[in-house]
């Protein structure tokens, strides 16, 4: 099976975030970066599928030159080769734009399966995978908890709300967006790191026509509010009113 995994490089979760001077993105010049967490699980799932069914794993990423870091990490963990779409314009791009950049670089490869993380740790739109599937004209399923492959057919477990799951069968080629925690992440080994240096990384430039679909107008820290309300009435009435307010207005119980 020829599997593609799309990974995004994001600012590490431990990084104390600050908003940049233009108030449209976080200050990331001095930030420390890592692989987006759900994408790491997608990569692990791809490696496990390859181990079971054979084939190759191609890691794909779009962003400025610094994303070479996560590509290298993925290759050290066992991906076979990589495609990197490089442009500074992709640094904080919206999901649609990233999907277009990836789609044009991936289309000719005719992958059997494309895995992405469910969403990114930074913007969290959960759109890149879905839009990418549309652009590649293949079906997709989201929030995947388990993947089974038999004779070119997929059976996948989707996470619904409230502890419910849904099993879906679908043909390949297809795209799945993987939920965090679906498997246990492996470590890069010394051998893997050495081998990664020799693996092929195809660097492509995105089309000059690529334009954003969204614009971040302003980024701000959530405003903290504080409100005091006195509930009148007898203790009994006040208690009933208090429960109603907590349940219906504050929605905390």
């Amino acid at each position: 099976m020829k599997i593609a995994v799309c990974v995004k490089q994001v600012v590490t979760r431990e990084w104390p975030l600050r908003i940049d001077d233009a108030a449209t993105w976080v200050q990331d010049r001095d930030a420390s970066f890592e692989m987006n967490e759900p994408d790491a699980y997608a990569l692990e799932e791809a490696l496990r599928l390859k181990e079971r069914h054979g084939g190759e794993v191609v890691v794909c990423s779009a962003g400025p030159a610094r994303v070479a870091q996560v590509i290298r990490e993925a290759l050290a963990r066992g991906a076979d080769r990589a495609i990197r779409v490089e442009s500074d314009r992709l640094a904080a791009a919206d999901g649609g734009m990233v999907a277009e950049a990836l789609a044009s670089a991936m289309r000719d490869e005719a992958f059997d399966l494309v895995l992405t993380g469910l969403q990114s740790d930074d913007q969290g739109f959960a759109q890149t995978g879905v839009v990418l599937a549309e652009l590649l004209e293949i079906p997709h399923a989201t929030i995947i908890m388990e993947v089974q492959v038999t004779d070119g057919t997929l059976r996948v477990k989707r996470e619904l709300e409230g502890g419910w799951f849904q099993w879906v069968s679908m043909p390949t080629p297809a795209l799945l967006t993987i939920q965090s925690g679906i498997n246990q992440l492996r470590y890069a080994t010394l051998k893997g790191i050495m081998a990664a240096k020799k693996k092929d990384v195809r660097v492509v430039e995105p089309s000059p026509d690529l334009t954003p679909h969204q614009e971040i107008l302003e980024l701000y820290v959530p405003e903290k509010g504080k409100q005091t309300r006195l509930i009148e009435g007898s203790p009994g009435e006040a208690a009933i009113e208090l429960v109603r307010v907590l349940r219906e207005e504050a929605r905390v119980i």
Binding site: E14, Q184, Y187, T189, K197
Partner: protein, 551 residues
């Protein structure tokens, strides 16, 4: 094989590659092991760089785009009292204790990352995320190191992702595992390599600030003495001004203080509360935090650094000039000397201690000894109090170290820590309150937990505790009574906490030790300063630790 990807280890690696290119012959395979997730993540220093080591290693560093840009332009030394300060008049450069002429203010994190890029471009393998946990021997000959197992849970059981450690054998192993390096520590103990004097240490605590423009010109270097330390404590503050309103603000305290209730982190807060410093920081923002021990013992505290099959370089050996407050250039030079010795030895097919003794000769006949020998007694002299130390330093500088004569005796710093009853005599202080406690305002001053957040420290929570306390019963009984659990105070990352327990339990004092290992910033202070010497710092799972981006 080089263990540790700091300035010393990477200099050794790059020098080996350069020698290889220059001298030809059978290609050497050169590998660097580094415990941090990315190159440079665990690097912490002031930092003022004397570029002489860099000039020697990569003379074309400017065209290679080294992140070494901010030249030191103004050097100010202050003596602080609680409310005011005295600025020392400009000192003629021959007597300037720091010798900052031609030096640069750098981010050691950035510098080391750049060095690692230079090394990788030479084809050197740098394995980040791998800690060396054991030295491999054949008899007394070092034959390599073992990396740590990964994927062990907090009960010591294997997880599904278990990845066993690997034995890496090498003709020559260069230990560059930094101050109080976990491997160098066992190597020195096993082979009895101690220098004539015990190593003494200090702890440096640093924050990176962004302040409104024009507070301090980039290139300005400030050092302070005096407040908040008393004359019995060694150390002082520093502020180094980087471009774009960035200030490196730090405080260094000798790990040989006597007061068991003293807290170095509190001393740093008090330093920032001084009007001279508060004025620079107010309205700014603290953006990074870190702490690291540094070796201050000087020339006589350096162990024998060559053994069969191995060499010790950099802070691991103690190549630091405590009078100039600089060690990066000496770390680099020691790495270069070690690489030259190792290269010759491997080529000659003899990696015995006597063949590797070339390293010692290169150190002795070169600029490392020329710089360290004249100041060999400076730190020890401060053992007699700060004024005696200052007078000594001056005399020592004037005479090139010839006077006063001989070698001052010194003892390991943790032995100077005094029992509470002896230090406080008739008073009965609360062991849960630091003697120099201040109330933090979370604007200029911070508590340890807030600070730790800004160190970017991260460890997998489900792994064995990497701070091995041999006997926690001592913590809840003797240590609490005698020293009031100083670990709670000397740890700058809130790793050690004494939490309530049933007072009557087995003769306890009502508190027991809790170790918050995932806060650890790998500074090594606990391993050094524990009065009972029962704390062993061993590396956590590779990749864990602080993230000193930009520090």
């Amino acid at each position: 094989m080089i263990v540790g990807g700091g300035p010393a280890g990477l200099s050794a690696a790059i020098r080996l590659a350069t020698r290889q290119q220059h001298d030809g012959g059978e290609p050497l395979s050169i590998a660097v092991l580094e415990k941090s997730r990315q190159s440079g993540s665990h690097m912490l220093s002031g930092a003022v760089l004397d570029p002489s080591g860099l000039d020697e290693l990569l003379p074309d560093w400017k065209t290679r785009g080294a992140p070494v840009e901010t030249q030191v332009r103004g050097d100010r030394i202050y003596y602080l009292t609680e409310r005011s300060q005295l600025r020392f008049p400009p000192i003629p450069s021959s007597l300037d204790p720091f010798q900052n002429h031609g030096a640069y203010i750098i981010s050691l994190n950035r510098f080391v990352r750049w060095l690692s890029e230079q090394a990788e471009a030479e084809g050197i393998d740098i394995f980040t995320g791998f800690a060396g946990t054991d030295v491999l021997y054949d008899g007394d000959r070092v034959v390599g190191v073992r990396t740590g197992d990964r994927g062990i849970d907090k009960h010591g059981e294997r997880k599904g992702t278990f990845e066993p450690g690997v034995d890496i054998h090498a003709a020559v192993t260069i230990f560059a595992d930094g101050v109080r390096g976990n491997l160098t520590k066992t190597l020195v103990q096993k082979l009895g390599l101690d220098g004539p004097a015990p190593q003494t240490y200090a702890i440096g605590i640093k924050e990176l600030w962004e302040v409104p423009p024009a507070r301090l010109d980039a290139g300005t270097v400030m050092h302070t003495m005096g407040y908040p330390l008393r004359s019995e404590e060694f150390g002082g503050g520093f502020i180094y001004a980087l471009p774009e309103g960035k200030l490196a603000v730090g405080f260094v305290v000798g790990l040989d203080y006597r007061d068991p209730l003293f807290d170095p982190h509190m001393a740093f807060q008090r330093f920032k509360q001084h009007p001279l410093i508060t004025e620079l920081l107010t309205g700014g923002e603290m953006v990074r935090y870190g702490a690291k021990a540094l070796p201050e013992g000087g020339w006589y505290a350096i162990p024998r650094c060559h053994v069969d099959g191995a060499l010790i370089v950099g802070d691991a050996a103690g190549f630091l000039n405590s009078m100039r407050l600089k060690g990066i250039h000496l770390a680099m030079k020691s790495g270069i000397c070690a690489a030259d010795a190792a290269f010759e030895a491997v080529r000659a097919g003899d990696v015995s201690a006597s063949a590797l003794a070339t390293y010692q000769e290169l150190i002795n006949t070169g600029s490392v000894r020329r710089e360290l020998y004249p100041v060999r007694n400076v730190h020890q002299s401060f053992g007699g109090g700060m004024l005696a130390g200052l007078a000594f330093s001056g005399l020592s500088l004037l005479t090139g170290g010839a006077l006063p004569r001989g070698r001052l005796s010194s003892e390991p710093g943790h032995r100077r820590l005094t029992w509470m009853a002896r230090y406080y005599r008739t008073e009965h202080p609360d062991p849960d309150v630091s003697s120099n406690a201040v109330k933090v305002d979370r604007a200029v001053t911070f508590d340890k937990l807030t600070n730790v957040h800004y160190s970017g420290t991260r460890h997998d929570e489900d792994q064995p505790v990497h701070l091995l306390v041999q006997d926690t019963d001592i913590c809840r009984t003797r240590c609490r009574e005698e020293y009031g659990n100083p670990c709670v105070r000397f740890c700058p990352a809130n790793v050690y906490e004494m939490v309530p327990e049933d007072a009557g339990a087995d003769g306890g004092t009502g508190r027991r030790l809790q170790i918050n290992a995932s806060n650890c910033v790998h500074c090594k202070t606990c391993d050094i300063m524990d009065p009972f010497q029962i704390i062993d710092w061993v590396p956590p799972e590779g990749g864990g630790g602080p993230e000193y981006e930009g520090m």
